[in-house]
Structure formats: structure tokens, C-alpha cells
Amino acid sequence: MTFAVIVFPGSNSDYDAFHAASAVVGAQASLVWHKDTSLGGADAVILPGGFAHGDYLRTGAIAKFSPIMAAVNSFAERGGPVLGICNGFQVLLEAGLLPGAMVRNRGIKFVSKMVPVRVEATDTPFTGACTAGQVLRMPIAHGEGNYFAEPAVIEALERDRQVVFRYVDEAGQASAAGNPNGSINNIAGICNAGRNVVGLMPHPERACEASLGSADGRVVLDSMVQAFAAGVAGGRSLA
């Protein structure tokens, strides 16, 4: 299977995602420039971390109008699996592919550290190989990862099990102490109603090899490969 990794001006985790998908997981991967209009027949799309368009105006605000986003939108609408990591998650929020928005971290600071993240839902293409409640150690590196949505939206996300990842403390509890940025309900990642579009602030692609301090993130990409092999995630016809 092939991952398309979208490259915006200012992306900085694009090669990390490319490396994780290709060298580590063993899938095919291609880098797709934001001005392209085709995903080139990819089976899954990754919007990587970074500072697309310098994060000018708001994080993801300019990126959502990049030419490639029309293809990403229609791919997602047809059920194609899309993973937004960190800045990629912010782009998905701005593009309306996922509900809510990001505001500045509660403590104002840019937070860069390894955090425990609990998998809350295993019925997405990016968490199918996880066990429910599994805690993954992955790094976060963001200044605006404080997830916000109106109470009715949060209620619907919780009710429909669209919260896919939650920040937890060392004991595995979604406590205030385990919340690095002030996100409502410790939300670290969510999916859309169709469950094919997933966004998360932690970086699974930067935690795919033991030499990086954690290999826990690998399961996210492995899940996608498994989902593709099982045929549940669509296929080349999608792109």
C-alpha cells in the first residue's frame, strides 16, 4: 500500500512520516507537494507536522486552501483514510474535516516532551492494531494543541466515541496532571463521524523506533497497513 505524505511550505515532519511509513513500516510512501492536485493513487494520506505556511494567521488557516486540499477533501469524503499529525491535525480542523479548533496551550509555552497517550477507540484505520486502553508513549511538540469545541460538540464526540486518543498521567488516568496543554477532556486525537479521518497532536511517526526513545507510535501506521490488507480501508480506487 502507498501513503501520500503532503508537503506544505513549512512542514517539518514530512520526512519523518515518509521514513516511518517506508523504511520502518515497509509500505510505499510518496511526498506530494501542496500545489499538486492529485494524490497519485495513494491508499492513505498523511498530513504531517510542522508550521505550514509559517502558521500565519492561524495554524492550518492558509494550508486549508492549498490546491492539494481539494483532493484530500474528496478522498476523505469517499472514505479514504486520512491521518493528520500535529500541524496536520490543525489543518484538518481548519478545513472542517474534523470538528473543533486549537487555541494556545493553557500555559502559553510551547510543549515538547514525551507523553503517555491512551487509545480510546480501536475502530479506526489508524488504531485497529491497538488494544482498547493501550497507553502509547509519543512525543508532543506544539504551542497550540489546546483542543476546543463547544460543549454540544464535545458531548457528541464523547457519545459517538470519536475521541480516539486521550492524554493520561503515568497511572493511565485522564487527569489534570496528565493534561499537557489544557485540552478539553484531555483530548489528544479525534476522528470524524465516518471514522476514516483521524487527527492527533502527538507524533506517532517520531516514535517508531526504539532508538528514538519509543517505538509505540509504530502501531498507528501498522494499523493502517493491516486495515489496507484487510480491505476495510478502501483501496486504490479511492484515489
Binding site: 488557516a61 486552501f65 481548519e94 479548533a101 487555541v103 494556545r104 496551550n105 493553557r106 502559553i108 476546543f148
Partner: protein
């Protein structure tokens, strides 16, 4: 023609930057500061001289790009 757009976080959204600015003002001795909300300000230069049309157009720009309606509200002024 020139239009101004003021973008602010909705009242329901916590503004960490505004809070830090308020704390800094307290440190400087401005103890009477109750709260600070930080926002954005845009000046848009437009062609044409139809004020009503300009206001509608800039409001559309604000809703599409300048503000994120999930967390922000905006106000347009045509000068």
C-alpha cells in the same frame, strides 16, 4: 476604500495569551485590570467606492479566512 476587521476569541473560549498579559499588567502595578482579551486587527484596502458592497465583501473574507468561526468572532468597519 479601507476596511478594518477586528477578530477576537469568543467569550466561551479561554484566552491564555490575554491571561498572561493581564498577569504582566498586575506585576507592573496595574492592579485594577480585571481581564485582558487579545485579538487581531486587519486593515483591508479595497477597490471601488460602494460602502455597503465593501462591507459585505469584507465580512465574507472574515468568515472565510480572517476568523475561525469555531473559536472567533469578528467585526467589520468600513472607513
Amino acid at each position: 476604500m479601507r476596511a478594518r476587521v477586528y477578530v477576537t476569541l469568543k467569550p466561551s473560549v479561554f484566552d491564555p495569551q490575554g491571561r498572561v498579559v493581564a498577569e504582566a499588567l498586575h506585576t507592573l502595578g496595574y492592579g485594577d485590570v480585571r481581564d485582558v482579551r487579545q485579538g487581531k486587527f486587519f486593515e483591508v484596502e479595497l477597490e471601488g467606492d460602494d460602502r455597503a458592497a465593501a462591507e459585505a465583501r469584507v465580512a465574507e473574507m472574515a468568515a472565510t479566512l480572517l476568523a475561525n468561526p469555531v473559536i472567533e468572532s469578528y467585526r467589520v468597519e468600513v472607513l
